[in-house]
């Protein structure tokens, strides 16, 4: 909301500078987004009279104009043509500086000298009018005088204030001034208002009003104003409107707008002769009703909207024949608007239900100065005063105005201002500091609250303007906020609290940190890729799968929740490849989503009032690493994983080759990571499918790219991903025996299974490691040789040769049970 300093100063004394005032406004929660200075005096811009206009040889777009600015003839070259000899125009003398830092100097053009510049209104920053020179009227005897003095332009400062949603009362200059007056402990002045005229007729003799739905319209005040001559507004009115960013239209509309800006009450003037029966009635719109609003758009009324619980209630104003005149509180219709011929006005000043206005405004995509105020809640008691102010303003341009007495005032339901009990200690309990009771009272009364002191409590009744103040405990918080706000947040104490409970990370955060640390130690650059992807991107690895869609994406590129990190990470790698930085490992830890119909939906409280249970998409945390260094492949990825598994303390995870790797992985160079005991799949390892690389990284088809894709939800769960035994084993003091075995092993037997069989063959086996896998035509068909380094030992003694021989036999027996024989 734009508020002029000069306007505020009319309502409250403000000797402070603009910058000082900004600090005060900010501290009141009336946050100043921007400060604009207008009407700064223009040095060396004066009134001049045109005495002669001459063509310039060889130029048809410019002419030589001789002017007099009080000190004799001066030659100026000018391109405008909208003036004649005898007219008065603004002259920027040599040395003047115009808005935009345009410096006026003496210039030569086509052999003549220009001693300054004749200006348009826009060049002087006075309006947007750039159509020729600004023509000045009634200034014959003021040649050479500074323009800003002649035009009586006062310099001013405009504050662009952001009004918070719980300050319906602050949507007006008056509201801002009230806060300032209370904070600064100064007097708040009220604007001048009119009284009705004593006539033989009362309003009810010619007009009527009604409320059909008391929930939608809480008050409807209808006045009749006669003797109106539609024309321009006085200059002070148009200046005020312009300072607030509104365009002057006519004295009637301007007066209505000025009242709204000043007091916060929107009013709506109708041409009385165009309102059947001079009757205004507020009712609920019916299905199939339509209205052409002032902006020329045809509106279908009473249609259910998309919003949760929006059944399509519109409040409309109708005339005596039940014809819809306007969308109440939002925008009027074209049929009854004020025209140049209007002489009699019906003026509507009302209170509408904020929620109804908010829903209608959203549904019709129509936000107006009026709807913004009504949806926050206009003071239901303000209407009569606003009308009196409207008449006072309009009378300045229509001296014969007649305002019929006893405006029709119909009431529906309006909220009752709550009375909140502030018990002794309540302020301190919330703020942590106690404030003087008299100061609390003074601050609240300044804002229009009425305060009654009980024996230990203060009973605080909110003014009708403060529709944001609630009943009960919530109301107490509202009132205490007002006290704190006016007292000044910066003046409140602060204290570092402490409590007995220790701080801690949750287990998932600890796991994630561990995973990230290991990945980074192993060379991963962490990336952050989009959660929302396109349908095409989704299909790259999960073709045809049911997906979770966004109803209102910004663009088709973000229409779907990702089901994998793989495409995003490959794309991030691709971007680095394009920049010649592809010799790198990139990875992401993030959430992927599954459609609730695919199992794993999360039952969650939802619906209106949280009364139902909805099944939300499954959310799964994954680490996906793309190993893109020059020689990386599936084998590097396996090695990478083995370090990760070791550092995560996993008990025994088998790298189990699979031809069913799922989307995006190479079909024959992948494996699942399976907990041997629980069978849980912790993730997958392998290479990125060549087709996916080709799709995302053009020109890199032949490069192998390793990949590791971990399911952190499974890894976080020790019941599925078992951890190593917690008890420490002290290594034996006796020397170990080392044994190498090369076993011809059927292709179908997994190396890790064989290793496990060896490891468990005897309690004397300390560890088993694979050190070679070797294929040869000299080996039997369908086998390969697997070489193990086996460490044997006992915590009680040095093993004898016999013992070693026996262990060796049981090792071979175990191997044989899996079909593996000594080479």
């Amino acid at each position: 909301m734009r508020v002029a300093l000069s306007w505020l100063r009319e309502l409250v004394d403000i000797p402070e500078s603009a910058d000082e005032l900004r600090e005060i406004l900010d501290d009141l929660g009336l946050v100043v987004e921007a400060i604009e200075r207008v009407g700064e005096p223009l040095e060396e811009v004066v009134v001049a009279r045109v005495d002669e206009i001459r063509p310039i040889a060889g130029a048809d777009r410019i002419r030589l104009v001789v002017v007099d600015a009080g000190s004799g003839p001066l030659e100026i070259v000018c391109g405008a043509t909208n003036f004649d000899v005898g007219d008065h125009v603004p002259l920027a003398r040599v040395g003047a500086v115009l808005p935009g830092d345009v410096v006026i100097s003496r210039r030569q053009m086509r052999g003549v000298t220009s001693n300054g510049m004749l200006c348009s209104s826009r060049e002087l920053g006075l309006s947007d009018d750039a159509e020729g020179l600004m023509l000045l009227e009634g200034v014959q005897d003021r040649l050479g005088e500074p323009l800003h003095e002649v035009l009586e332009i006062a310099s001013d400062v405009i504050f662009d204030i952001s009004i918070e949603g719980n300050r319906p009362d602050a949507w007006s200059v008056m509201g801002v001034a009230r806060d300032l007056a209370t904070r600064l402990n100064r007097t708040l002045r009220s604007p001048r208002v009119a009284t009705t005229h004593s006539t033989t007729m009362t309003t009810a003799d010619v007009a009527s009003a009604g409320i059909d739905d008391p929930y939608l319209c809480g008050r409807l005040v209808v006045s009749v104003v006669r003797g109106v001559h539609v024309g321009p507004s006085p200059v002070w009115v148009t200046r005020r409107l312009e300072s607030a960013g509104l365009r002057p239209i006519s004295n009637v509309v301007d007066a209505s707008n000025l009242v709204m800006l000043e007091m916060g009450q929107p009013t709506h003037p109708y041409d009385a002769s165009r309102v059947a029966g001079r009757t205004l009635r507020a009712r609920r719109a019916r299905p199939q009703e339509r209205l052409i609003t002032l902006d020329g758009v045809t509106r279908d009324l009473a249609r259910a909207g998309r919003g949760l619980g929006d059944t399509g209630v519109d409040c409309v104003i109708v005339d005596g024949e039940d014809t819809v005149l306007g969308l109440a509180g939002i925008m009027g219709g074209a049929a009854s608007e004020i025209t140049a011929d209007t002489t009699e006005i019906l003026l509507e000043a009302a209170y509408f239900d904020p929620m109804t206005i908010a829903r209608s405004s959203k549904r019709h995509g129509l936000r107006t100065e009026a709807s913004v105020r009504f949806e926050r809640g206009v003071d239901p008691e303000l209407a009569p005063r606003a009308v009196a102010r409207f008449v006072a303003i309009l009378r300045e341009s229509c001296p014969d105005l007649e305002w019929l007495s006893d405006p029709v005032d119909v009431r529906g339901m309006v909220p009752t201002p709550p009375t909140v009990e502030l018990r002794r200690g309540d302020v301190e309990r919330i703020l942590g500091v106690s404030l003087d009771r008299d100061e609390v009272t003074r601050l609240l009364e300044g804002l229009g609250f009425s305060v009654t002191a009980g024996s230990t409590s203060l009973f605080v009744t909110a003014p009708s303007a403060r529709l944001d103040v609630r009943h009960g405990a919530a109301g107490r918080a509202d009132v205490v906020e007002e006290v704190a706000r006016l007292h000044g947040y910066r003046r409140l104490a602060r204290r570092a609290p402490s409590w007995a409970e220790p701080g801690a990370l949750n287990s998932r955060t600890r796991l994630r940190r561990r995973v990230r640390d290991v990945a980074v130690d192993l060379g991963m650059y962490e990336v952050w890729t989009p959660t929302l992807v396109s349908d095409d991107e989704f299909d790259l690895v999960a073709r045809g799968d049911e997906r979770v869609r966004i109803t209102n994406p910004l663009a088709s590129g973000d229409s779907t929740l990702r089901a994998t990190l793989l495409t995003g990470v490959v794309r991030a790698w691709a971007r680095n490849v394009e920049r010649g930085l592809g010799d790198v490992i990139v990875g992401e830890i993030g959430t992927v989503f599954t459609h609730p119909s695919r199992g794993g939906g999360r039952p969650t409280r939802g619906g209106v009032a949280g009364a139902t249970t909805l099944s939300l998409p499954g959310e799964h945390e994954r680490l996906t690493v793309v190993l893109g260094r020059v020689h990386d492949d599936a084998a590097t990825a396996v090695a990478w994983w083995s370090v990760m598994a070791d550092r995560l303390g996993l008990a025994d995870v088998v790298v189990r080759s699979s031809d069913d790797m799922g989307g995006g992985l190479h079909p024959t160079r992948g494996a699942q990571l399976v907990d041997r005991t629980t069978g849980a799949v912790l993730g997958r390892v392998g290479e990125v499918e060549a087709e996916l690389v080709a799709a995302l990284v053009p020109g890199l088809r032949e490069r192998r790219v390793g990949v590791l894709d971990l399911d952190l939800d499974v890894i976080a769960d020790p019941a599925r991903a078992r951890r190593r035994d917690n008890d420490a084993t002290v290594p034996s003091r006796y020397p170990s025996a080392l044994l190498d075995l090369a076993l011809v092993t059927p292709q179908s037997v997994h190396v890790q299974d064989l290793a496990w069989a060896l490891r468990t063959a005897s309690p004397l086996v300390e560890s088993v490691h694979v050190f070679d896998v070797f294929r040869s035509e000299n080996l039997p068909e369908g086998t390969r040789s697997v070489a193990f380094a086996i460490r044997l030992g006992s915590s009680e003694r040095t093993l004898s040769d016999d013992e070693i021989r026996l262990v060796r036999e049981s090792l071979l027996a175990s191997a044989a049970s899996l079909g593996a024989t000594l080479r």
């Binding site: 908010a358 704190a484 701080g503 801690a504 896998v773």
Partner: protein
């Protein structure tokens, strides 16, 4: 070759063409046969040429038959190509096969080079550590929420004008606008309080970091996807002064001893009294610069005393419990701490950028 005889054996010759296609054993063979099948040297081309010499009635009839044959040949060709491509892919895959169970980890060699964590992750970690040291526990909540958690339980009923404060992505599930991508981390407050009430585990001293979404075109200062950290304290007698103290302690701990904080009134439906908190401009250290519009202060986040309406929604007795909450952008902290002019660098994922942080 007379035109009549050539069209007479159309059926037979087309069977030969189809047989030829089926017999192609490789993509190469198929490619070599193409000129004979559909190219200039194919019978199709010859027939096409001879159509001209027929009279109108015959031409229409022969043309239709020819068209039919052409379609059959093309379909067969495409089908065969697909079969052979799949076969070739399978063969390549079979040749390429690597049994990952046989990988001998100890013999894999790979270059040694440090990686780098993402800036957001690093920042989040530091923030978590600061709050853990102050006695907060770290918790997390989901990214897809119902209207109840994201809005209504936070005292933002449907159609409330305050909803305009958040540009919301709606998820296409169930009734319209019932499921959202969370627009802030505040719904985690509701989950925390509901759980604490259900399990009888009040008080709460928690922070909840996480990813949030706003339907907003990204620019230098905002991303549509971003990270926030939310704080919630519910205890017997915590006050606004405690909240201001927590924010001040955090500010100095994270940004350094010469950076301080201050509060100014604001509106959030789920807190009352509410405040925005500002910190000393980290660029000019309070002297005034372009970043802070010469005020010396930068807005960081929002905070306030938990609104009694929120307590009521989750079933916490306002006569016995009181609380405060705060929230601010993790990405924004990183931006201010490291002087990142354009936030979009965070999602560019250029390793030269990531590599600067550890």
């Amino acid at each position: 070759m007379t035109t009549s005889s050539s069209f007479d054996d159309l059926a037979e010759r087309s069977r030969e063409l189809l047989a030829l296609i089926e017999s192609a054993g490789s993509l190469d063979e198929l490619r070599q046969s193409e000129p004979v099948l559909i190219g200039k040297r194919s019978p199709l081309a010859a027939w096409q040429k001879s159509l001209g010499s027929l009279d109108a009635a015959q031409r229409a009839e022969a043309g239709a038959r020819l068209q039919d044959v052409r379609r059959q040949v093309q379909t067969a060709l495409a089908h065969r190509r697909e079969v052979l491509e799949r076969r070739a892919r399978d063969e390549r895959a079979a040749q390429d096969r690597l049994d990952l169970g046989d990988v001998v980890v100890r013999s894999v060699s790979a270059p040694l080079r440090a990686g780098h964590p993402g800036l957001v992750a690093t920042t989040q970690r530091e923030l978590e550590d600061v709050f853990v040291a102050m006695g907060f526990t770290v918790v997390e909540g989901p990214e897809v929420e119902t209207d109840w958690y994201n809005f209504e339980a936070l005292n933002i009923p449907p159609a409330h004008p305050a909803r305009g404060m958040w540009d919301t992505f709606y998820v296409d599930l169930g009734e319209p606008e019932t499921v959202v991508l969370r627009t802030h981390t505040s719904p985690t407050q509701v989950h925390l309080m509901e759980a604490a009430v259900a399990e009888g585990t009040l008080p709460i001293h928690a922070v909840a970091p996480g990813r949030c979404f706003r339907r907003d075109t990204p620019d230098a200062r905002h991303l549509a996807v971003f990270h926030q950290i939310e704080g919630l304290v519910v205890d017997r007698d915590v006050t606004f002064a405690d909240m201001a103290g927590v924010i001040e302690t955090f500010t100095r701990a994270y940004f350094g001893p010469d950076i301080t904080s201050r509060l100014r009134p604001a509106y959030f439906p789920f807190t009352e009294p509410s405040a925005e908190f500002e910190i000393t401009c980290t660029i000019c250290r309070g002297a005034g610069c372009r970043t802070c519009s010469s005020t010396g202060w930068i807005e960081l986040g929002g905070c306030g005393m938990v609104d009694p309406a929120v307590f009521e929604a989750v079933g916490i007795d306002v006569e016995h419990w009181q609380g405060f909450a705060f929230g601010f952008g993790i990405d924004r902290c990183a931006q201010m701490r490291f002087g990142i002019a354009d936030m979009r660098a965070l999602v560019e994922n250029d390793v030269r950028f990531v590599g600067q942080f550890s």
